[in-house]
């Protein structure tokens, strides 16, 4: 599903590479944690998978497509097969929970009728039934992240990328979000999560890939934070 082959990424003006000759493969339906200290290069992996940045060397294959050589006009369509959740939620403040999710559908060409059918369903799934018409500022942090997860999942992506999704949440809320991601993973969606929340990693007991200074130092099935 995801294949990184000898990927090196050096940002312009950076003295050392963010990722240094990293190779890793992730199968369909896996749940993978990327862990490591700040600046270790784990967020760069998310950016590479989204084609927000291109690797300096090496090859990135997502969903059998070689992202490295992908033409720029194909990127939008490619991104529709990937859902994304961030630490800061990235919701539109002037739209309700329903509208935030529906917006993601409408801008990729889905009709309002489709949104009316699908959005309540996915909001129910993430546990926000009854709160569809609240604005982000009327929701708690955990609820806002649920909206973000709903938005990422509404299009039924093959892959869900989560960049420190619990970074702004208290431990209990974090666990709830993780349960949600786990449920999404059980539907067959590949989940890639970048985190440095040891508590969560230890509870989930999933594959853990540890990165330090741009290199993979550990890749362990059913691992702990260590």
């Amino acid at each position: 599903m995801i294949q990184l082959e000898n990927v090196t990424k050096t940002y312009p003006k950076a003295s050392r590479p963010s990722l240094d000759d990293v190779s890793v493969g992730i199968e369909k339906g896996e749940f993978v944690f990327f862990i490591g200290p700040s600046g270790s290069g784990k967020s760069t992996i998310i950016k590479l998978l989204l084609h927000e940045v291109t690797p300096t060397r090496g090859k990135v294959v997502v969903n059998t497509k070689d992202v490295t050589s992908m033409r720029s006009w194909k990127i939008p369509h490619f991104r529709r097969s990937i859902g994304c959740v961030f630490q800061d939620f990235r919701l539109l403040p002037n739209r309700t929970a329903y509208e935030n999710v529906a917006f993601a559908l409408e801008v990729i060409g889905k009709t309002k009728a489709v949104a009316r059918r699908v959005v309540p369903e996915v909001l129910e799934l993430v546990g926000l039934g009854g709160k569809e018409h609240r604005y982000p500022h009327e929701l708690s942090g955990g609820e806002q992240q649920r909206v973000a997860v709903a938005r990422a999942f509404v299009n039924r992506p093959l892959i869900l990328l989560a960049d420190e999704p619990t970074g702004n949440l208290d431990p209990d809320t974090s666990i709830e979000i993780m349960r949600l991601l786990d449920r999404i993973n059980r539907t067959g969606t590949t989940v890639v999560m970048v985190t440095h929340d040891s508590n969560i990693v230890n509870q989930m007991r999933r594959r853990v890939i540890e990165i330090e200074s741009g290199r993979i130092v550990r890749d362990q099935a059913r691992g702990v934070y260590g």
Binding site: L50, P76, R79, R80, C84, L92, A104, E106, V107, R151
Partner: protein, 291 residues
């Protein structure tokens, strides 16, 4: 649905930044008015050249003391010249008659001109009016000729003035267009900034590039079109007020500007306004949004 979404975005966008929108529309319309005026003048000068150059004559005025022999020698020389299309001879009396009808509304002026003060002349039409110099060169040496006058030289002076006006209008149009371009670029940047969250989400979930850009580009195009319409109204108004009323005397020389030509400016201005706005907006977005 999508169309409705896009149109709504456009109107909201234009309204959000209404002072900038107005500035953009005004500069755009002034620029386009000047462009329209310039093109109209160009068409006009072209048409006038066709009209006047067909009528142009070279006048060979004879000396008052010209002899019979000299006159017939000139006559034959003109007739034999291969450059000449047709010639007419005008006696002093005929010249006076023509003068009287020309200045019929000014009898005092006519009275002041004596019976013999107007010279007799040959009026020559050349096959090719451009050949005037050669023809004059060939005739100049002959005895009994007072002066050879080409109407073309006179007309050329008039046309030079028109040309200068046209170029000036074009320069103003260009300068205003530059200002309009910068305003369009700025407006689009402000619009893109105020919608940066939406744009970020759209990019994230994979909205196509055209879908992200369309509202911004259309915003500029709508402003460009409004500018073009205002510019056209100004042009038409200017034509009605200035040329058809105030400066009617000038119109008599100018040969009337057909309304059809002015109407022709509407699609031209609209096309230029819309295209220039669209391209500017698109280029701005490429740099600013990197989509």
């Amino acid at each position: 649905m999508r169309l409705k979404y896009v149109l709504n975005e456009v109107l909201v966008g234009l309204w959000r930044n209404v002072t900038m929108t107005i500035a953009m529309i005004i500069t755009m319309s002034v620029s386009l008015t000047m462009l329209g005026a310039s093109v109209l003048l160009y068409l006009q000068v072209d048409q006038m050249k066709d009209y006047y150059y067909g009528e142009i004559e070279v006048s060979i005025f004879l000396r008052t003391d010209v002899t019979e022999a000299q006159r017939s020698a000139i006559d034959q020389s003109i007739a034999a010249n291969p450059l000449v299309k047709e010639k007419t001879y005008e006696t002093r009396e005929q010249a006076l008659e023509r003068f009287k009808t020309l200045w019929a509304d000014n009898p005092d002026f006519v009275k002041s001109v004596g019976e013999n003060s107007l010279p007799e002349s040959f009026r020559v039409k050349l096959k090719d009016p451009e050949q005037y110099k050669t023809f004059a060169e060939q005739m100049k040496g002959m005895q009994g000729i007072q002066d050879i006058i080409d109407q073309r030289a006179l007309l050329d002076k008039v046309f030079k003035i028109f040309n200068a006006i046209q170029v000036m209008a074009l320069i103003v149009a260009g300068v205003m267009a530059l200002a309009a371009l910068l305003l369009v670029g700025n407006t689009i940047q402000v619009a893109a900034y105020s919608k940066r969250r939406e744009v970020a989400v759209m990019k994230l979930v994979g909205a196509s590039n055209w879908f992200i850009q369309a509202p911004f580009v259309l915003e500029a195009v709508v402003a460009g079109l409004i500018g073009a319409i205002i510019g056209f109204i100004a042009l038409f108004g200017g034509k009605l007020v200035l040329l058809d009323n105030r400066l009617q005397a000038l119109t008599n020389i100018l040969t009337p500007i057909p309304n059809g030509n002015v109407w022709l400016m509407l699609p031209l201005l609209a096309g230029v306004g819309a295209l220039v706005s669209a391209v500017t907006a698109w280029v701005t977005l490429r740099f600013y949004l990197k989509v």
